[in-house]
Amino acid sequence: VTAISESTTRVPAEPPAGRLTGLRRAGFAAFVMLVIQFGLGSYVNLYVEVPGADHGAGLPKIIASGPVSLTLHAVLGLLLVLAAIGLLVQAALARMAGIVAIAAVGLLAVAGAAFSGVSFASQGHDSSSLAMVLLTGVALLCYGTTLFLLPRGSRAPQRTHR
């Protein structure tokens, strides 16, 4: 039996299985948080009277003085920004440039949705609410794509015995 030459075909190395698992968990967590945020935002939009805050009210005021559901919505939005940055960092550590690019778009969408949410709470423009929903959709698409593109390399190869 001769040793197989390793000099012909060379492919980019896959990240370690642990790193891939962490990346998949982070992507799934962001995806789930976005779905919860979407439901919470829909509830707030339909059933909660957003206080007519002063023009230019920031996020701290919304969190401190708003209704409970609106406060939850705002806090979850902040956590989503953190989760999006965490996913971006993990993708960079795994050296998966494609996932980094998608995670960056997802982060921009989450941040944009957060800006739109603050704008909607302080000014009440319907366009801000629409922007929030559309950007949430973009972020969901990004994190769904991330989960789809991640290689399933977390299991060690099994030997078959005959």
Binding site: V1, T2, A3, I4, E6, S7, T9, R10, V11, P12, A13, E14, P16, G56, A57, G58, L59, V81, L82, I85, G86, L88, V89, A91, A92, L93, A94, R95, M96, A97, I99, V100, A101, A104, L107, L108, A111, A114, F115, V118, S119, S122, P157, R159, H161, R162
Partner: protein, 157 residues
């Protein structure tokens, strides 16, 4: 005990230019912090005049310091600096997003503030992308069976 070169090849060193990039980003935060402490920068043809905004000066100084430390770590120990660089860049991205929230939520700030925040956010995201590509190692396909290891193969059959 035998020393295997595999761990070294799995953790390729970050290029030095990435450390310089981090230091350059840190410098912009330092300049922004200085300008927010009533600083003035004479450029010859004009003078950039800052303002007193302590609420922005301190966070900008902290972000700049974190990026500067990360840049120094990349230059000093490039083989072990990837996590430090990624964490520092993520921290800076978070800070810029918070700053952008403040800038966009108030009529006090002008185009220059929005432009700087948008620009540095793009640079930081680009840095993160470069971090995902810089120093990528190329290894042979791992699915190829190792036929030279006779002791590991089943003897029966």
């Amino acid at each position: 005990m035998t020393d295997h070169p595999a761990p070294a090849s799995r953790r390729p060193a970050l290029p030095r230019w990435f450390g310089i990039l981090l230091l350059a980003e840190a410098a912009t935060f330092g300049v922004a912090s200085y300008l927010h402490r009533d600083g003035h920068i004479a450029l010859g043809f004009t003078t950039v005049t800052g303002e007193h905004f302590r609420g922005a000066a301190l966070p900008e100084a902290i972000i700049g310091a974190v990026l500067a430390v990360a840049g120094a770590v990349v230059l000093a120990v490039p083989g072990r600096a990837r996590a430090v660089a990624a964490t520092a860049t993520g921290f800076a991205i978070l800070g810029v997003i918070v700053g952008l929230t403040v800038v966009l939520g108030s009529t006090r700030f002008g185009v220059a503030d929005v432009g700087y925040h948008a620009g540095i956010l793009a640079v930081l995201l680009g840095s993160m992308y470069l971090l995902g590509t810089a120093g990528r190692d190329i290894r042979p396909p791992s699915r190829a069976p190792r036929r030279d290891d006779h002791s590991a193969m089943p003897t029966g059959g």
